[in-house]
């Protein structure tokens, strides 16, 4: 991850920047004056940074959680694949239109077992962000993902998807080439894929664009991510008719990992390093990896047919409604 001064800070992370500035200042002073013990001062400041990171993430609002999920220093899909696995071979193209660079995937070895990784990829700088279309895939991205899933199925390898998207791309060509159909087909095929599927929200989980690679046996969500049907900004614009209610929309949507786990819509929350995944890529990846490995072990014990039935059953139960004469519905509020 980037080190100070290349590190970027969100508005609520500013107190940490100030501590970094103090460290820099003390380092400068130490060069001029060797008599004072700056080492211990710097150590104290470094401890204070850890403390601050902890303090900040302890009382995050849902909107701040959304901000963290979009943190410019946050690790993206290829970073996680690199840190978690070996022998990654990236595979390209949907064999039809083109290679969508907002969606990446390929075989890799996860502690000796081959898995198929698939995920949206965001860019790490201005140029890359454009090349990756900000993690917004076109239909060919979803079709590439499906091709890779089918490939994994053919060779009996589990699928691990890493989800990080502000949404499927709402463009003219995307519509011409059937964005809706592409996502629909993926959801349908994932429901009945014969191999285990583990999905993890590693950043933004926006709507159909996320679910298009998000149907599986185990759904994991990292601590500082969000997952729902619409971004808080768009929700604010449609329901409040203003772009200014994104914070309220984020609260009302109940989009955090904790909410989603409480509703039974996801299976596990994956903890992040203190302050968020952007503070320690290796640690973030290693925690995620342990969750994936544990899920894989569990899923391998279940026969394929049964696993698919569980998958269909699990999603069939999602929802809440009144039913006369007596109210029936989903699991009670957590």
């Amino acid at each position: 991850m980037p080190q100070y001064p290349n590190r970027q800070f969100l508005d609520f992370e500013q107190p940490i920047r100030e501590l970094y500035e103090q460290i820099e200042e003390n380092k400068r002073l130490a060069e001029k004056n060797s008599k004072v013990d700056y080492k211990s001062i710097i150590q104290q400041l470094e401890d204070a940074i850890i403390e601050k990171r902890k303090e900040i993430t302890e009382r995050l609002t849902p909107w701040q959680r959304v901000q963290l999920s979009r943190h410019p220093d946050r690790p993206y899909t290829l970073k996680y694949i690199d840190k978690m696995s070996t022998n990654f071979v990236e595979l390209h193209g949907d064999r039809n239109v083109k290679d969508d660079k907002a969606m990446v995937g390929g075989f890799a070895s996860l502690d000796g077992q081959t898995v198929m990784f698939i995920g949206q990829q965001k860019g790490i700088n201005t140029k890359a962000r454009q090349m990756r279309n900000f993690g917004m895939a076109n239909p060919e991205g979803y079709r590439k993902a499906l091709r890779l899933m089918k490939l994994a199925e053919k060779f009996g390898k589990p699928v691990v998807t890493l989800i990080d998207t502000p949404g499927a791309y709402p463009g003219l060509e995307a519509e011409e080439r059937g964005q809706g159909e592409a996502i629909a087909k993926n959801i349908y095929e994932m429901v009945r894929l014969k191999v285990p599927i583990i999905c993890c929200i590693i950043g933004e989980g926006a709507s159909g664009g996320a679910l298009g690679i998000g149907v599986g046996d185990k759904i994991l969500m990292m601590e500082n991510t969000w997952y729902t049907v619409i971004s808080p900004e768009s929700c604010s614009s449609i329901l409040w008719r203003s772009w200014d209610k994104k914070e309220v929309a984020a609260e009302q949507l109940r989009l955090t990992a904790k909410d989603m786990k409480g509703f039974g819509l996801i299976d596990e929350i994956v903890p992040e390093p203190i302050g968020g995944a952007h503070w320690d890529y290796s640690e973030a990846a290693s925690i995620l990896k342990s969750h994936i490995l544990r899920s894989l072990e569990e899923l391998k014990q279940i026969p394929a047919e049964q696993r698919m039935n569980y998958r269909i059953d699990k999603f069939s139960k999602m929802g809440f409604w009144n039913e006369e004469p007596e109210a029936v519905g989903q699991t009670e509020k957590a």
């Binding site: 995307a174 519509e175 011409e176 159909g208 679910l211 009302q252 109940r254 999602m318 929802g319």
Partner: protein, 308 residues
């Protein structure tokens, strides 16, 4: 909330802003007025004479609502297909207008305590007091030209035909009914997309309904998806596009993202006919376009072909 704002809400859901921009009334408002004209007593009608006449938004042709109804709400002059609701579709499709309504007892619940400009529960209560609709989808079983089938049909009048838990559950039970009685399944879509007030639960209906369709497919039962004006978002990203046959009414707006969002994204005007049924047919996403007047015959013909 003012009526104007409600209007905005509906049009934004459907990507149908042009109706208002051109000074005309929106398609939803037209439909509400039409229904009112039909269902109110003769005495009331005298006070609202405009309910008796209808102007076509496409060609300005004026005819009586009775004439229009006899023509299945299709403009006699230019073939424009007016937006209609589940009641009308059931009447059009089922023999003698007879059918068995299914799962009407399932209604929406404000599980999240969602409040935007008004609480979700209040929104639901208001619609329930204004219309006979229980939610945005109704399911019915009956026969079309003697062919038994199950039809699930959306009502745009009910929060823009939005996809929430109730639609997902009714859709699923309709599939169960088809499986039990070995019947073909027709779904008539007309929706702005997700019901945002149900947040992620709304999103998960895409996976829920797809799972059910997999079971229907395994049983070898036909699933026909009829897309009508408008069909957007979560519907087109799930069961709307998953038909063994995908068909649409003429001129219907169908897409994943709404035209307004696309325009804002690409910062260009959209070409004429963009996201219309004819555009989708041309790009290979529809099997055919069905005129409302030939819909019933085409359907029964297809079911006949698939069953023999």
């Amino acid at each position: 909330m003012s009526t104007k704002k409600e209007e905005d809400f509906d049009t934004r859901l459907s990507g149908d802003e042009n109706a208002n921009a051109q000074g005309g009334e929106s398609k939803t408002k037209w439909y509400k007025r039409l229904r009112k004209g039909i269902t109110t007593s003769t005495a009331d009608k005298k006070e609202t004479p405009e309910g008796l006449w209808s102007k076509c938004p496409e060609c300005n042709y004026i005819c009586t609502t009775t004439e229009l109804r006899e023509n299945l709400y299709v403009c006699p002059k230019c073939n424009y297909h007016h937006r209609i609701g589940s009641d009308d579709y059931f009447d059009i499709l089922f023999d003698n207008g007879e059918y068995t309504a299914l799962y009407d007892e399932i209604t929406s619940k404000d599980f999240l305590g969602f409040t935007d400009l008004k609480p979700y529960q209040k929104r639901l209560d208001e619609i329930h007091s204004k219309t006979d609709l229980k939610d945005s989808m109704r399911v019915a079983a009956g026969t079309a030209n003697g062919k038994a089938l199950v039809v699930a049909c959306m009502d745009f009048e009910f929060i823009g035909g939005s996809l929430g838990s109730v639609m997902g559950e009714k859709f699923s039970r309709a599939v169960d009914y088809c499986l039990e009685h070995r019947l073909p399944y027709l779904v008539i879509s007309k929706s702005g997309g997700a019901r945002m007030m149900e947040s992620a639960f709304s999103l998960m209906q895409l996976a829920k309904t797809s799972g059910k369709l997999a079971l229907l497919s395994d049983a070898g039962l036909p699933y026909i998806s009829l897309l009508t004006d408008p069909t957007f978002g979560g519907i087109s990203a799930s069961f709307g596009m998953l038909g063994d046959l995908n068909i649409a009414e003429p001129g219907a707006l169908i897409g994943f993202a709404g035209p307004r969002v696309i325009k804002e994204t690409i910062k260009k005007d959209l070409p004429p006919g963009f996201q219309r049924s004819e555009f989708l047919l041309e790009h290979g996403f529809l099997d055919f376009i069905a005129d409302r007047k030939s819909l019933k015959d085409k359907l029964s013909q297809l079911i006949e072909l698939l069953q023999h």
